[in-house]
Subunit: 461 residues, 2 copies
Amino acid sequence: MAEEITEQVEREDDGYGLDNRTVAAVRLAVAAGDGPRLGALLEPLHAADIADLLEQMDSGHRREILLLDPSHVDGEVLSELDDSIREEVIEFLPRNVLADAVRDLESDDVVDLVEDLEEPQQAAILDALEDADRVAVEQALSYPEYSAGRLMQREVVAAPEHWNVGDAIDYLRSNKKKLPEEFYHIIVVDPRMKPVGYVTLGKLLSTKRSVPLTGILEDSFRAIPVTQPESEVAYAFNQYHLISAPVVDDEGRLVGMITIDDAMIVLDEEHEEDIMRLAGVGEGSLSDRVIETTKRRFPWLFVNLITAILASLVIAQFEATIAQFVALAVLMPIVASMGGNAGTQSLTVAVRAIATKDLTGSNVWRVVRREALVGLVNGSIFALVMGVIGILWFGTPMLGVVIGVAMVVNLVIAGLAGILVPVALDRFGVDPALASGAFVTTVTDVVGFFAFLGLAAVLLL
Amino acid sequence: MAEEITEQVEREDDGYGLDNRTVAAVRLAVAAGDGPRLGALLEPLHAADIADLLEQMDSGHRREILLLDPSHVDGEVLSELDDSIREEVIEFLPRNVLADAVRDLESDDVVDLVEDLEEPQQAAILDALEDADRVAVEQALSYPEYSAGRLMQREVVAAPEHWNVGDAIDYLRSNKKKLPEEFYHIIVVDPRMKPVGYVTLGKLLSTKRSVPLTGILEDSFRAIPVTQPESEVAYAFNQYHLISAPVVDDEGRLVGMITIDDAMIVLDEEHEEDIMRLAGVGEGSLSDRVIETTKRRFPWLFVNLITAILASLVIAQFEATIAQFVALAVLMPIVASMGGNAGTQSLTVAVRAIATKDLTGSNVWRVVRREALVGLVNGSIFALVMGVIGILWFGTPMLGVVIGVAMVVNLVIAGLAGILVPVALDRFGVDPALASGAFVTTVTDVVGFFAFLGLAAVLLL
């Protein structure tokens, strides 16, 4: 039986991540209430994979795992969990297990863990921390949400600018206890603690003792203000290939550092958010409950309903025309659908180009002209295709002309709206990924139906 | 005049990246043919920003910049350029400038530069390299495209597993010349050159000389096969928070290493590709020419045309019904549009969940059930809303019932198709981001029109 299930869910697992075989085995162990077997299965897994495993279970199985083997749900697993599941797990875990889990984490991981929690859960975790750690976490939480201050680690290795390589190496070798768990750079600071650059440990080890630190500073140095939004931080790391960067306060003094692995997580989240917003899904994940998902998707569908009704109102103006010529009702969705698709193409390119700062005030008109041209060329080709289809299908040459012209008009408008709507939203400070879709679809629907039915009213009757 | 233009294009530039003021100043310098001024403007810019600047210019301005100040378009700038612009620039640059530019790059950057070039341009660059570098580049190019072998750097620092911390530090300090430009880890290998783990330089510096290297290995060690697809590599770095990982050949021997900054670039590209594919845009960028963009978007619009015609064929079955009841034509697009949107919501969530390995064989049925329920709840609410609107607008209660029932059916089907289509495509080895949209829209359009018009034919006539 066990083998059968394993066989059934198996797929090609040459990559990384959780494999289905393990998930199936965990399910069996849980069903059998076999704690030791469950422990043995979880033992070799990375915290991120255990978190994925918990997310894939339903709520009942998740609790059974926590009851059978709470020891494998440690602080790192909690860090990796999706928000909604994390809250559930924290609520369910016994206080002492939770306290142990959190005490093992670095202070920036604790910040990441508690910042999205509700007040009482946050307090429960902060109480479990030692005084020094709690102060550090509370200080980090005093910075704005999604700022560099929340992202940074406070533990840094700094060296005065008058030191040479030998001084730095001696300092590191004789202060082993004080060094952070992971570090790759030494930040060189002036007497007022302002960073002037950084030196990689590799460069330090491969340079003569007598060379001053200021002689081997990296080119890519950039100091990040502590209130900088994390999306800008991720952009800077990606654009300038930074490995780490010092974080400075309002007076330019060193207060922490951000490393590329933190920036990579932010970049990943920003992308995910853009994709979800473009699709009208909002935040959230597969593991959210039905009611949450329904609530989150409802507003987008509601906005869509309004735009669809607007389109219907346009159609309603031409009821008499349609009544005389039902073929129009048959072909209508083609014009709307082509316009909607072309609009989505343009707006997606525009939204991404705005996010990567490739679409700016200086090239927007060139891009607009290009999109209009692309719409004109593709529109003309499809006008020809649909014109012929219209004639062959309904035997009315004028109907071919009507749908052909409507197609060109709609694809050009789709290209223009696809660029101008996100650019305008960005100017007004609205996230273009969030709202462009509804506006562009409204434009293409209204223009498409109006062009098609209006032309038909003039030319066919 | 200059100030006026600068003022006009200025926006809040508190972030990173190219600012519009600089772009405007560069345009002025180019227009004035002022090479020294151009050089002074480009000098402080990062290579990535110079590349963005070149991409934002039109082809004519780009050439003028290359003529006025070729010295600032170095190898790093070439690496940062979009493919299509890069080809243009390489064609235009004098051979000797190109040769200088490429000789400054590390061999893995040269691989990145040449792998997308046409044969003759590739040869021109390879010829400019010194023999040892050319062999290294050619060897890298022998690995499959988008594999770990293309991504890795060949320069690694390895240490035998019997060394202690003191041995490693002494080795590094006495072999300064042989060390790579940047490294953060020492890879510990067995006598057959198989990696057994790695030690961070930070740990090395903060540990006593007598401790064996095998005692301070990092937990997160994972060796990557040289033929592993780069998307899997990026997933592993993101999932397990790796900073670097050794790359091994078929026999498990060390051949290179991949660092997190390379993985971040791949992750960024993979995301971008997913977004573009979901929107039916394919690859490409803002800087592509009109004809390329038109060609790239055409196939997607063509597929959309086919699906739209399928929907039209369904409508055509009900011409008689519509002729008697034109209100149906008015309301038709609402049902289709709501179904299409709900389908896009589900499919986007599914596509992302497949990419992040959160949607697997083990939870697919639970997710399908959830999506159907979400569709049922939202569908019922909108059924009510539209039912009322239908009655008030057209004064026919039965019309309200028809559109209400059609709405529920369509939103449930949208939720089901939104999950099942991408999952099925993934099983058959087709990228779900690429093809799901067309299939799901076809399903929601066909089902939506059929349910709405079919019910109308039964209930209204």
